[in-house]
Amino acid sequence: MADDLARALARIESAVGDRAEGWDLAGLIPQPLLRELGAEGLLCAQLPQRFGGLGMSSLQNGELTAGTGALCSSLRSVQTSQGMAGWTIARFGLPDQERAWLPGLTSGQLAAVAFSEPGAGSDLSAMSTTVRADGDRLVLDGRKKWITAARYADLLVVFGRYEDGAAAVVVPTDTPGVRIRPIADPLGCRAAGHCDIELDGVRVPAGNLLGGAALPLPLLVTTALSYGRMSVAWGCVGILRACLRAAAGHAARREQFGRPIGEHQLVAGHLADLLVAERTATRICEHASRCWDSGSAEQVVATVLAKQVSAEQAARAAATAVQVLASAGASDGTVVARAYRDAKLMEIIEGSSELCRLLLAEHVLASYGREER
């Protein structure tokens, strides 16, 4: 399996090559390339082999995600969306539903997951998209906002209100009533295919309701987002590694006052901070992934912690890296400028830093607040 990971990383490196800056500036990754990578199982590598996935552990998939994130956060974002769609179908889908959709996700079909809405960002309980039964069909109506990878997607996993709870429904993007509009000039991950989506009287077979029943919204959202948070956290590790390498290389080569700037103590301090950030995020992600791989219930909290820490470290470190490179890293077309924009988004998506801290505070109160003395 270590060989599989090495091969997967090499394939991603070969696919990205020197094209990440161009994709970022164009706001687009060639869709045929995404389909190729998807068909090789590289966009949802944690799916079991019986569905055509690579059957990677969370830890291996994390390293693959970090490797991708170090090269191109837009591609990593597409990877996160595809993986989250696969995870949601595998987690909530009935066996027939797994067989219906998961092999497609490892054969070149692309997918996105639609949670957030104009009035429901951090507070997904305010979700207003509705799903209702109409004979042997489901009818969806609503608006979704900032849906990563929707520009490329063949399938959407749409979350909405259903009966007395909530539901996740698989919706092909060519279904009448689905309108997908790319978001112009996002701050970061510019080629990740962020879109707003309109769903007007969208009719799909009743069998597209994952699990075949209404589910509690908090459980549905927490579970589906958990994969996304783990993936984003590992993606931040990639950003940190890219920043560390870029800053170290520049600090070793660039001379001022007669010596490399890395030998000036204030710049050297930045390099040490970058290493601490990268190691901290890596270790905390490794711990969370090991919780996933062992089936420990701790995975739920460890994932939020990993996302919170890694995103904040990445945002801070990217700013530090730009500071080290100064004018050499302060324009489009440079790794650290792209990292700076991409890392800021990581503090917002899949649960903002503020929301993650609230979840962690709830956990503290639930775990320690009742402690018997």
Partner: protein
């Protein structure tokens, strides 16, 4: 996705109940009665329901899907015990 099978074998309903009570005690650092509503007093986090699902699946080697994921199935230790017992019996009859 990686799912590690349980190495533990819990033989009867009483043992299932005790295992869940032990988990809750270690997780919340307090003791619980089997019929206490875990969600009613608002003392648990938004993440707690997912923690319970993951723990039950890992500890008792069951898969909780579809309508079984409704919150009422996780509200008390007694109903979780009934859910686990039913799922294990269903899995056993399929294996047999």
């Amino acid at each position: 996705m990686s799912t590690v099978g349980s190495e533990r074998t819990v033989e009867d309903t009483e043992a299932v109940q005790q295992e869940i009570l032990n988990f809750l005690e270690s997780r919340t650092r307090t003791t619980w009665e089997p019929d206490t509503d875990l969600f009613k007093d608002g003392g648990q986090s938004s993440l707690f329901a997912m923690e319970l699902v993951v723990h039950l699946e890992k500890s008792f080697d069951v898969s909780i899907r579809g309508a079984d994921l409704r919150l009422d199935n996780f509200r008390t230790v007694t109903v979780m015990t009934a859910l686990v017992t039913r799922l294990r019996q269903a899995a056993g009859s399929q294996d047999g």
